[in-house]
Amino acid sequence: MRAERTQSLGIRPAAGLLLLLLPLLLGLPRAAQGQSAPVVGTKHDLSVPGTVSGQPCVFCHTPHDSYVAEKPDWNHLLSIQTYTLYTSTTTKTVMQQPNQSSKQCLSCHDGTVALGQTKAQGLLNTSRILGAGKNLGANLSNDHPISFTPVSDGQLAASLFLTPPATKDPAVKLVAGAVECTTCHNPHIPNKDTVVPSFLVRSNASSAICLACHDPSQPRPNRLQGWTTGSHGTATNTTPAAAGFGAYGTVALNACLNCHLPHNTPANSSPRLLRQYEEAACSPCHNGTNLTPALLNVMGEFSKVYAHPTTTVSGLHEANENAFPLNANRHAECPDCHNGHAAANAGGAALPPGVQSALLGATGVSNAGGAVNPQPANNEYEVCFKCHADSTGKPQSSAYSVYGYTPFRVTFATSTDPYNVRLQMQSTASSHPVTHARNSPYPQSSLRVNMLTLSYTAGRAMGTQVYCTDCHTNNQDRNFGGLGPNGPHGSAYPHILERNYQVNTPPATPGGTFPSLTYSAGINGPFALCEKCHEFTNSIFQDATFRHNIHSIGVGASCAICHSPHGVANSSANIGPRLVNFDTHFVGQNSGRPIQFNKAGRYCDLVCHQQAHDSGMTY
């Protein structure tokens, strides 16, 4: 057998060349030459020249005595395999065992029938064996589904649901309304795609075949919307010619294949046919290597002390988790904040609250609670609210403090959820202007004209609204002069804060003394984060009516002891304005009276740092 194959390889090129030249020699018109001798000489040509197995066509087709129901004149013995079918939580299509058309391909490509075993001629010798990776086996769950009639799920081309159904590309055809192997593959012609000679029906550069059905132009909540302007569909960074990357050379040309594979995906990433699982799918390009020019190392951010639990939690993300908020299965995988189909490095909102380019297409929870409808999120905070708002599963144990000091506010006593940032931001009492424009009735004399960059130069104009990521982001975020990846992947500071935001060590009992912080101006000062927007030295600290400097410099008390930075939810009449909401680790009751900030009376009623404050101590 080995000798025969060797010999046949020696003969084949000459025979193939002759066949190719024959029409030329005969002077036939070009149309007659066509794609002369389809299959002949390709990997689908199993013929052994010079023997009774010399006919390339006969391994699949026979002029007589073919299968009765298998067209066209099918000859290769069909498999009797029952296949494990593709499943996914996001597909609406009901999968079924392969149809006639695809069964024909599987008669070789499931590896259960001897190549060359024909119905009409019996077992023929073959010059080839099934190539590595071409044996799909009995498990089709890690391959793009076949033999299904598409069911509209919001992202499939509308033309698939017309009569008659069709893809957007005439080269990509349905078979009796269904997707079959031959929708993407033409078994007769191997190299219509010159880069990937896998018998594709056309070039799949820029994933043209995929996009014939998977349609970014469908309306919201289509997860693919934004693809044509997103980085994964447009970036010209070159990709290495290595396993794990598309073969087309650049991110834009690899397109879908940057992240997805049509066949033989790894076992644990089969849903949606991803190359790898969770962050591992993103890591090869977003780890600072491989691409040219290289991207920033986002993966490295997760190694910082304070980081989203992207690399530490696995197996909980599920693409259909649209019934927000997320409760028990808390996790923060890349696709929870980023939609790889739409994410970009330009084109997003430049100013709060709109989603920035990297978050384009991500899902969110609205400021009224509940999923944004229709998705995706319009505003950055909506992405954060998926986990940091109404979710009942937010960790409230002491373990939570590993991400930073856990404050406990006086009004939380009446709040059902002290960690619900949405309620804080939507407070009617006072809140940082994240979900709404600045609306305080009081003068904002401390606000700077421009936010301070990390090097304390003038950054973004103050405006009337801020992002979550103006405070919670990488300590090297480029939006304010850093050199690292933007966004709250990780930070050197607790709570994934961009800058220093120090909190005193609490006293043994509320109202007791506690160690002072030492104020210094500049990026390393204890209150640098607040200083980004609020000018200390010329306004707050020197305020003639309320002397912050006594507290901040004199006592060295953190801003956080008196102010709740997100907002004051569930405020009482005497707690709430100016984000005042005392940290009850520090502040105790005065003579059993409720802790108060009585703005109208210009006094506080409490004990702090062993100092009783009451209505006799006005400012």
């Binding site: 036939l28 013929s47 009796a176």
Partner: protein
Amino acid sequence: MIHRKLMIAAALVLLGGSAAMANKAALTGDTQHGAVGTTPCGGCHTPHAGLNGNSLLWVKSVGTSTYTVYTSASLKNTSSNITSPGNGLLVAGTPSNNTLLCMSCHDGALAATNSVTLTTTNYGTVGAALSTSALLDVGAGGNLGNDHPVNLAHNPTLNTTLAAVAAVTGAGLQLYTGGTATNFVECGTCHNPHQGPTGVTNTPKSLSLGYYLRVANNTSQLCTTCHL
């Protein structure tokens, strides 16, 4: 004997049978088609009283059975019932086209029940039952659904993957035109019943599978004459 042969040959010339003339020698030595009757021609043709409307002076009834015809979702053409439109070279309106004549033997059922239509002392018994070989019993059970479709037009306009008509005929294959039929594919498109079982006379046949093919098919070149 010689006289009879000449008579038959002359009749066939009148019916456009020059190809038959050219291959007379091959048929004479043919142990398959040439051995069906007591004479090389007599298995199929008779100088007198031909059946089926005298089509090609055929000696065997082709019956009136209809056939299960080939269908396919990807077939661009319409494969009509095999009894129509027929080969216009013969008598229009009768089930006597090229393919049906072949079926008078290569349909197991017809061959068995209809085999003896002319038993005279001159010609002997004609039409012994066919071999049980599936490849020879093409229309067994009245089923042509598992065979390459016949009685349909070779239409490169309709099916752009087909070769031009001139390329097909130029390569030695035959398309049939007559009546309402134009460039029809019939058994005779690929097979020439007169040229001997091992293939085309002037084509290297050593690798051919025979079967009276008009073009050797040792590298599927017969298939790829039409299927680009």
